[in-house]
Symmetry: D3
């Protein structure tokens, strides 16, 4: 059970409905997932996060499926159950195959392992890696 009541469309005030409407229009769906119904508890956050998601996850120099896989990698590392479920669903909806999912998990697992080996041994960064753009 969520820490706040989920705000359904029927009972939502105008500011919330405006965001819900935009979510459904943008995504070409007729429903809104629980993440937004919880954020509706604090409208400035609801509006800010939605406008950010629309921009950040949109096609750009990185394609939407790759963005979803990056999002999933972070969510697994932070152990966010909600985000793992919702963004793996999004990645699959955008075409992630099961083989790609298996490889994504393998990279996430390996990176987590090697992060600890590098930190545990306190390995100094090679000079050549300290280049900038």
């Amino acid at each position: 059970m969520a820490m706040v009541r989920l705000v359904e469309y029927a009972e939502a005030e105008a500011g919330v409905r405006a965001v819900y409407d935009d979510i459904m229009t943008t995504r070409k769906t007729d429903w809104v997932n629980n993440f937004w119904k919880a954020l509706a508890h604090h409208i400035p956050t609801l509006e800010r996060i939605w406008s950010t998601v629309k921009v950040v996850m949109a096609p750009g120099a990185i394609d939407p499926l790759t963005k979803e896989m990056i999002y999933v990698a972070v969510s697994i590392t932070n152990n966010c159950e909600y985000c793992i479920h919702s963004h793996i669903a999004s990645a699959r909806a955008k075409g992630m195959t099961e083989t790609q999912f298996g490889e994504l998990m393998a990279v996430v697992g390996l990176a987590n392992e090697n992060n600890r080996l590098a930190n545990g041994y306190q390995i100094p960064v090679d000079a050549v890696f300290r280049q900038q753009f």
Copy 2:
């Protein structure tokens, strides 16, 4: 300064040299970065991690640049200074543009924010996201 002495090629025993040689051959370079010189402290780990990196980071259903970006996303979330430097260098070497890097950072930042919003509100997973393959 690392917790263990970095093992240089000149002083390395045969088992270590064999891995260093394979790293240089595989990567078509004439040097080995510090990560491996620290792992050389424990040969079973050196051999295992190298053979894993070769397989997991190789081209597959996910292309190598995307794999590097996923690796970077995990390393930033875990705050591994060594891995952030080395894998951003790898991603750039594989063609990551600065605009892509900016978008990668934006996705990583947003995912970290939303992970906490979802966990903090303890948002229940929507039934539709609980599908399996």
Copy 3:
């Protein structure tokens, strides 16, 4: 289900009862929450953590509600389901309004995002921030 049996008052030995009694007296309640019933499994930890909580969370230079909100911020960042529930309940009992909760979540979300941006770009600390007291 917990990894250890929760120790109820009726079955508790004297050392455990003494702590439970002090918890109920200090908090002016007639029940003890599960956290303490699990710690009762290892009495030195039960006694130590309770005596620490009494001192650290008490009114001081920082007021109790602010302390609870700081505690909640850490618990969300670490994703501790039990602590998120129990300390949001405490914060509400101490007067946290829903608008304050919304703002708390917004700060926690933003800090988590910016922590990753700062670490990912490996931004050097400005000299002026390196002052001490």
Copy 4:
């Protein structure tokens, strides 16, 4: 050394200068800290994060000093060196005393300890804590 070149005012393009100007005006200072000079690398992120910081960290239902202490608590838990330095400096500038800092650290330490005890014992959430607003 940062992963990206820090963008100084003198060399910045108009969009970056507009944000820098707003930062200095809002904060009544004549300098910009490194965080923004790194974000300037990706202007959409610079603009978005600055507009978010202005809103989220402003006085509201929670006072600005408390918001800074919450921000510090998250940054310590995530181990963000830059954010620890910059936000402790902000908290001190907003009046945090050294005794308050000592208490803040004590709460952060205790919460991190208890988060692990609760997760390690997998303690079930008490029914009474599952209330909603």
Copy 5:
């Protein structure tokens, strides 16, 4: 519900069965736990992780029970519910007493607290601790 279908022995292909057989033979049991049934979704990962677990968790310079307790300490710090359950079960099967479990939890809790105190105060490493082998 897992993100992937758990692969049962009866329906498994040959490569998966070979690993399952080796797990049961090595552990002298007649069943396979869910971890492997999920990894079976991506055979290269199943084979690699199993061969790694066999080597890394085997008796060596550190005894198997100590290795399990180290594994549990990491799993609690990362908040992995599955791993907390499975490796505490393994540690108990290898002889961990309840007093040892209580002490393990106390060390894990304290280390997490002190990690944050050290990071929050940004304490410089004493020169004498910077020795190498």
Copy 6:
């Protein structure tokens, strides 16, 4: 540079000196490491943490070297540079061999990897692992 001035013995007030004296007596050394000199900034924390460390890290049902290795495993997972250095030094002083260190790192790396695989696949806990003591 630490966020607080390190308190040296010569300038310390009586309450701080009492703890420093006890540290040196308990450890049979004539110096105090920086961790305590930073905590001296807030005497209640200095006293509480020292009394806790004395009890929790002392010989008990788990031997002191194993406790140090558990502490190191947590510190690596949390990426606490100070704690990694100081507790690896302690473990070596208590007899940890370099082969043991190599195995410790291997277990820490593997546990971090498998934690993410288990969380990423959201693997359900096997019923048999849900036993209690």
